[in-house]
Each structure stands twice: as C-alpha cells, then as structure tokens.
C-alpha cells in the first residue's frame, strides 16, 4: 500500500445517485489471478468511468471467497446512462456474465441523505 490513505467516497450534497453492484464470482475464478483478465478489465473500467460526466467516485470491497460490493456514485441519471451504454463497459459486462459472475444484484438508487465521519484526532503519517 502506498502512503495514500484509504478513504471512502465522501458524502456529497443530495440528491445524487448510487449504483450498487453486488456479485459472487464463478468457482475456480481466482482473485484476479489465473487465466482470465478480470483484474485488468476492472482496472481499465475503473479508469474509464472517471471520464463519465457527473461521476463522483466509487468504492469497492471484496471478502476473499465471498461477496464483492462496488458502489459507484453519479450526480445524475444521465451519467449512469452514459456509463451503462459505454461500449467497452457493455462488452465487459457481457463477458462477465459469460465467465466471471455466478450471480449479481444491481440497484440504482437516488441518495436522499448522507453524512460522513472522520476521527478528530489522527496521528500524522510516519512519512
């Protein structure tokens, strides 16, 4: 890990949108290792989405051997539609349904309330 601190996407001023993607990968599909190109594709898509107008950031977590949850935030539905129909993203989703995912759920939701917390007392970074 670099000296960059891990931080979730902060609370924005509502309204904005959250796209929650919760997935279970196929058995035998490693954590980015192995013959498939999951990790490369995920990294590539993570760069591409930053160019979508209204993209606010995304958070991902994956329990080894368990669920993965990714939440992407957009200012409006137009940004989500832009991303949904992005050619490279569409191709990756199609490939993912064929190879990577055992099952998933997708929820598109309008954020109505949000807040953040950060510890008031934080030791300076050792670097």
């Amino acid at each position: 890990m670099s000296d960059q601190r891990i931080a979730p996407v902060p609370a924005h001023q509502p309204p904005y949108y959250a796209v929650v993607f919760t997935s279970v990968r196929t058995e035998g599909d490693g954590d980015g290792g192995g013959g498939d190109s999951y990790a490369d594709t995920a990294e590539r898509l993570g760069e591409l989405v930053k160019d979508i107008p209204g993209f606010l950031g995304e958070d991902s977590a994956r329990t080894p051997g368990g669920l993965a949850v990714t939440v992407a935030y957009f200012r409006d539905l137009a940004g989500i539609e832009h991303w949904r129909t992005h050619a490279e993203h569409r191709a990756a989703k199609e490939y993912g349904r064929a190879h990577w995912y055992e099952r998933y759920s997708l929820h598109i939701a309008r954020v109505e309330h949000s807040h953040g917390f950060e510890r008031a007392v934080s030791a300076p970074s050792p670097e």
Copy 2:
C-alpha cells in the same frame, strides 16, 4: 463454508431503500480478532436488524486491510428510522466512532431500478 450458497440480497420491486455504509477501520484494529468486540457486535446487530419491520436483507464485503462496504435494504424510510434509533444499534455506533472507525460515509438512497443475474447453467451441489 457450509453448503449454503453465497448470494447477494436479490433485486426487489422498487421503490425500496438502500443504506450504504462504507468504512475504514482504525489501525491496529484486527479483523475481528484482538481485544475489541467488533465481530461479536457486528454479529449481534446482524441478528437484531432482522426484526426491523421492512428489513429486506443486507450484504457486506471487506477487503483485508482496506474498505468495508455494507448495504442494508429496507422497504421504506420508517424501517430505516426504526433501526437508526434502536437503542443497541445507537450504542454500537457511538462505540464504533470512539474505537473502530477511522472514517466512514453513509448514504441513504431510494432504489428506483434494480435487476439480478444468475447463471442459467449451474452444476448441482456435490452434496
């Protein structure tokens, strides 16, 4: 892992609500080990929330050493408010801000669209 398959909360008929809680734990705070009671509390809260009217389920993932994302789904805001003000949940949140969390973001969002995917061809369980 038991023979119970890992599955995300399925897509429900909108509208319903998603509460997205994304957190970074304090340094030195283990993954449920150590002296603190994080894992016990999380398990206890995971049971209590099931009794909240309108609770639809929750998904959690945590990247070791990284972000944790929990998404809880409720039929309506009344259920969220019920859970938000639940005495034991409130006490745990207060303790968490004092001990467990470096920072977090919370987003309460109204789900407007959802869908699910499940592989059509799935080998039967070996058991």
